[in-house]
């Protein structure tokens, strides 16, 4: 999705503002601090260890030299100094009056505590006052009153410091640089994705509803988010198309009665010679306007039901009662048409719903059935109380609908050619579909002659 060629398209000040980059810096700093602390601990421990070792060495040497016989002592001191290629050893044997007898020290160091433990001390290594060296030193008064001083240079600490500094330079600095670079790369990648998304969203806002957010198909959270947003856009696009379609339908279906009214009024105005004739023209116009208003009312009702999110009006509704009420309402009309209405209600199923809306839906279906059933036929209203669900079934002996018509017949405004000649605005079934959907019920409709429609209510 992203070409590598447009890397570094994000200017640095922008980069520094990205969250990813900031977090990288924070993590990098924490890492550096942790490393410094670790090195400091290692340094401190190592130095202590080295000091302890030096102390051990000088103490041991002092013991050995003190214990050696006086006549061999000077040889031993010389040998001792000769065995020191790194020149870290200092030995001095001084007479009781401070006069130097042997070794490479000029005087007895002033700060040295004789017969004390090993200590840090400056020892004189030349005649001048500045010819001094920092050592771990120890002093011993021997049995003949002379003083033995042993020292060991501790510049290993300085060595160590150098090594640590090098370690830091070689390890920490590149690591820090790398983390900053990684942060920059990561944040730029994230930034580019956000930029791309921004760009596409701008296009969507500008009216291109077919645009979608990019996904990489790797299923990371960003992908999942993009997927959800795309799903939302799909839904919005569908809705927009539906609304546009409905708008067209409204325009079309309103234009017919309105044109008729206009023509009727024009002719009435031109041709009426008596008040009665004018009134007749007015009546026809009012009838036409009523039809237009009925369309608008039906549409608003469908919209209201479809967008109704409130189920506050829902309660327990006994279907058998509604079925009987609808039958009661339509029986005379059917009889006038020579159509028989039969009711078959088994059981007393109760559903959770809106009584008025369910009555309206069933009444609409019965209204349709009665309308399309020719004289001599019958309409049957059956209430089926089954194990998994219950259903209201309306069947008639009318012409039914074809397979092709079945789906579109539920769409708003659709009227099959047959029904155009019958009174009604073609919204009845859309209304039924909206009510059924609101309740979470299902609508079944058979194709072929003798229409059978079922509202199936699953058991709660």
């Amino acid at each position: 999705m992203y070409a590598a060629s447009d890397s570094f398209s994000v200017p640095l000040p922008d980069l520094a503002r990205t969250t990813t980059f900031r977090w990288t810096l924070v993590v990098g700093s924490a890492f550096a601090a942790f490393t410094l602390m670790l090195v400091a601990i290692v340094y401190e421990r190592t130095e202590r260890f080295l000091t302890a070792r030096s102390d051990g060495v000088v103490t041991q040497q002092a013991r050995v030299l003190s214990a050696s016989e006086p006549d061999k002592r000077l040889d031993r001191i010389d040998w001792h100094l000769a065995q020191d290629p790194r020149a870290v050893q200092y030995v001095g044997l001084f007479a009781a009056d401070g006069h130097r007898i042997a070794g490479n020290l000029a005087r007895v160091p002033a700060d040295l505590q004789i017969d004390g433990p090993a200590q840090q001390v400056m020892v004189p290594i030349g005649p001048g006052p500045s010819d001094e060296q920092l050592v771990r030193g120890i002093g011993r008064r021997l049995s003949d009153g002379s003083v033995l001083v042993i020292g060991r240079k501790i510049d290993e600490g300085a060595e160590l410091t150098k090594i640590v500094a090098q370690t830091l330079a070689l390890g920490l600095f590149p690591a820090l640089c790398m983390s900053i670079v990684a942060g920059a790369l990561l944040s730029r990648r994230a930034q580019r994705r956000v930029e791309e998304v921004n760009e596409r969203v701008r296009r969507i806002v500008a009216g291109d509803f077919r645009e979608r957010l990019p996904t990489r198909g790797v299923g990371d959270p960003f992908d999942q988010l993009a997927g959800s947003v795309n799903g939302m856009l799909d839904r919005i696009e569908t809705l927009i198309h539906e609304i546009a379609g409905v708008g067209d339908d409204i325009a079309h279906d309103l234009r017919t009665p309105l044109t008729r009214v206009r023509v009727g009024l024009e002719r009435g105005r031109a041709n009426s010679r008596t008040l009665a004739e004018a009134q007749a023209a007015f009546d026809r116009a009012i009838g036409g306007l009523d039809q237009a208003l009925a369309i608008v009312t039906a549409l608003l009702r469908i919209a209201e039901i479809e967008h109704s999110q409130r189920f506050a009006g829902f309660s327990r509704v006994a279907l058998a009662r509604i079925v009987r009420e609808v039958c009661d309402l339509y029986e005379p009309i059917a009889e006038e048409k020579g159509v028989k209405v039969r009711v078959q209600a088994s059981g007393e199923p109760v559903v959770h719903g809106d009584r008025d809306l369910l009555l309206e839906a069933i009444a609409n279906l019965v209204d349709n059935a009665v309308k399309f059933t020719p004289a001599g036929g019958h309409v049957e209203l059956a209430l089926l109380d089954r194990a998994g669900d219950c259903a209201v079934r309306i069947s008639d002996t009318g012409p039914g609908i074809s397979e092709d018509e079945r789906e579109i017949v539920l769409r708003r405004f659709y009227r099959s050619d047959r029904s155009r000649q019958t009174q009604g605005v073609g919204l009845g079934l859309s209304l039924v579909a909206a009510i059924v959907k609101l309740h979470g019920f299902r609508l079944n409709m058979s194709a072929g002659p003798h229409c059978v429609v079922e509202i199936i209510c699953p058991r709660a």
């Binding site: 208003l293 209201e304 409130r310 009309i333 008025d356």
Partner: protein
Amino acid sequence: MLDREATMAKLLLIEDDRETAEEIIAELVEHGFAVDWAATGIEGLDKARSGDPDAMIVDRLLPGMDGLTIVEALRQEHVRTPVLVLSALAAVDDRVRGLRAGGDDYLTKPFELVELIARIEALLRRPAETRDTKLRVGPLELDLIERTATRGDRSIDLLPREFRLLEYMMRRKDQMLTRAMLLEEVWNYKFVPQTNLVDVHMGRLRRKVDEPHELPMIHNVRGVGFILRAPA
């Protein structure tokens, strides 16, 4: 057709749209009502308190205010003046809210003026909630216990639904009953179907109540509705 007893009843109309208000007032005056008009909710509330109208017509969508607020305020002050709520909001919920707020009837715009008049007259003449178990209009008698109907000496054989319809009409004799009112009240049917349901039901009842040689009692007022009246 007009309800003479309601003549000179005082009405208060609270409606912000001048043109609509003028249409309504003209129609109401023509039917013998005295009409006071308020264009805003505040003015309406004032007039409702001071003018003591017999009934009120309140539009829901007033500038900066829901007409129901007025109704609620009046009901809290125990003012029981009957109120007809007018609204462009047709939703079932809106209707329920309107009636719950204290409105006595609810009419959705656009409406026919005759429907408005019929409903106002109905509001002004709430049915006599008689404890009598027999209703009488002229020669017509309905026994609510025995579920029988007679006209003079002739007994009328009614189906339960016809009995219900006749009972409703007898409780509202001399009163214009529109199709919508009958559907709402008799069948508890809150929407207007395409088919002329009411006419068919009324036609059947009429054939049973008014036989060809008798003076008609059920009158069809063209384009409006039906009236039950004792024969003159």
